[in-house]
Symmetry: C2
Subunit: 194 residues, 2 copies
Amino acid sequence: MPRLKAPQRREQLIQVATRLFAEMGYEATTTKDIAKKAGVTEPILYRHFESKQDLFVAIVRNVSDQTLKHWQEIIADSDDPAERVRLVAAAMPDHMKRLEDQYHVLHGALATSRDKKVLGVVREHYKQIEQFFGKLVTDGERAGVFRKEFDPKAAAWQLIFSGIGFAMIDLNLGGMDRDLIEEVIESILRGMKC
Amino acid sequence: MPRLKAPQRREQLIQVATRLFAEMGYEATTTKDIAKKAGVTEPILYRHFESKQDLFVAIVRNVSDQTLKHWQEIIADSDDPAERVRLVAAAMPDHMKRLEDQYHVLHGALATSRDKKVLGVVREHYKQIEQFFGKLVTDGERAGVFRKEFDPKAAAWQLIFSGIGFAMIDLNLGGMDRDLIEEVIESILRGMKC
């Protein structure tokens, strides 16, 4: 394994940890496993990450950043708030598939971890998503597209619940029918409009 | 530990396995751990369950049975299809809390397991829920309460996605606000009606 510069090494360790957490679960993976797979010693790993938790935090922050960046790009394609929600939701299956390992790690930790720091960074992730959708919904209510009586926070959580549930089924039990997903998205939008 | 009759021993082993799977994760728990905690030898455990997978299957079938029985009782309280969906959804937080360990095991396995038998029984679970909600929606469409253009299967999956996402957040990150949940339920119903 050639010597890498610090940022590349950090990136490599995140990638290796993501793969191992996704494969064996966060709890079952050790920093020893990660160092070995990355071709470095544990002390080198510890120069970049203080603990396994720190690696997890870096992975989740990565998912949050990539997800929000991707969605910001998507909503730039339309000024219509309903169409923006539709575009983000319609891009979800491919986005989740692209970040499949990362979402496995995130959902696996959410479902099984009792580590406060781990759950804390997961909470932060959803808080950011809540703000993103909350703003879309608020814009839509101001524009008269969405019903004003619906708390934007509740609407944001409706979208988050649906997204988590969809990902849990689609990524783990196999592809859901795309036409069915489209019907679900339209139903969610009707609930926000009517 | 007193000697138990076969059905009681089976029940006890399921309870112990549920607790251990919920605490340490399905993958990390061994039949040795389960036997020890139940105060029996492994050969005695194997008289009741051929494998750890078999214990998992029994737990998930238990969750399916209890959930459907509970929902059948709930919907008996109303003839109105929309009200039936509302009652089942409104009872979800307490129901999930009551079966918290079981749902931890189910969602943890869904998020992290790659075992075909394990995922197969999880798939069976959702198939039953799909049928339950599909029938409620079909009845509602026939009664003219729900929009006829919405595929009952898609409506059922919208409810399942929301339920999984809600449980993942509520059980693992802490209680969601009940008023917010009520708003989400009403939004889902508007989407099914409008």
